[in-house]
Amino acid sequence: MDGFGRKVERFLQFFAEYGGYRKVLEGLQNTLTIAVLGLIIGILIGTVIAAVRVVPKYKMLPRILNAVCTFYVGLFRGTPMVVQLLIFYYVLLPILGMNMTGVQVSIWVFGLNSGAYISEIMRSGIQSVDPGQMEAGRALGLSFSTTMLQIVIPQAVKNILPTLGNEFIALIKETSVVSFVGATDLYVAFSYIGSNSYEFMVPYLVMAMIYIVLVVAITLLIKVMEKQLGKSDRRK
């Protein structure tokens, strides 16, 4: 264990004295920013797609929108996140002539990607709500979208909150691929410490611990939210 003690010392030295902590803080901040903003964008996109999918399809417009959404979901679920990141950063941005940092691209790609997954989660959530809820809203003269926003989606979100939490956890962990487009995340920060100190064991263990702490914190947060939303519910 003597060797391990030395390794810890070496890590702490690089962490504290050679600016390693700054890199780690930057990485942590980027990881959280990408995951949180990605989730928010994903929820917005996912909700819109899910709503389009459950709209009655008598008319032409909903059918076209539905086809677009099917294509979108197929595209983003059918390719790995890394591939999407690379294509956005190295193919789409130059073509569009846009200038974006790795972190910004990552936020958008994470949002677009999780939107595809969340749309399916949200759709099953919407379909799990008793159709009578929609009927009651419509029978009172409320529009489809009002009833959806006021009645159905709040109940759907309550039903899918645990699954949505899983999606957030998956996003946090998946941020470790953003180094492909030059963004600094936790993985980049600890690799930086590792390669400068020629010692990878402790940095990677600490990195794993930080991920675990993040995930446990999110799990607790979701539990609290579930309890809050469960006020109208009989099952406790």
Binding site: Y58, R138, Q150, S232
Partner: protein
Amino acid sequence: MSKQAEENKEVIIDVKGLKKSFDQKEVLNGIDVTICKGDIVCVIGPSGSGKSTFLRCLNCMEDPTGGQIFFDGVDIADMSVDINIHRQHMGMVFQHFNLFNNKTVLQNIMLAPVHTRTAALKKNKAASGYTSAAQIKAQAKEEAMALLKRIGLEDKADVYPSTLSGGQKQRVAIVRSLAMKPDVILFDEPTSALDPEMVGEVLDLMREVAREGMTMIIVTHEMGFAREVANRVLFIDGGRILESGAPETFFAAPKNPRLKEFLSKVL
């Protein structure tokens, strides 16, 4: 009711040749009926006869596949009309209550009035008759509390529907539709999902609403209630109205053989 009085009444719903089919299956094969203001119409028939579908077509919960439904002179079976406007004047009470689970009892009652009135205010302030969103809310709350008081549930205003009994839920559902001050209320088997001991309280409230002159169309299996409250009873079977008439003659001297058979089973 004398012939004279019948003719003086104002027609509110006029159904002409109403048809509805699900995929290939025809459920309604041409229904013609006229409903006047203040009518209490009970619709009876065996299960699968199309009576619920008929009721659900009246506010286009199910889109009719043929025929016309004139509500206050407008054909609402026409897909191009804004059905939401018409539904605001046509309440509906469901077999399974369908109270909004994520809203308290008070919010359940207030939601639609507040929403539709606020929309009217935004659209045209002068014509709406309201001054502000806050005023609409306050007024809706006052009205909702008065309705709750009427059914003796004012102490339940802030609880969620999951804590109410079936009878309480259905009474809240009825006052929820009353809160919109509709011209007609459609009842789709309002007591069928209730425990027997709770049927009475719901029927009592419906009786009260009927006495106040509300136009009601009620799909029901409660023959005693139909006989007592209705001024007209319709018998639907096989997607057609086979017999209709005042309850006295309808129940005492049925003419249609199917109706005779049905009544012999249920009475």
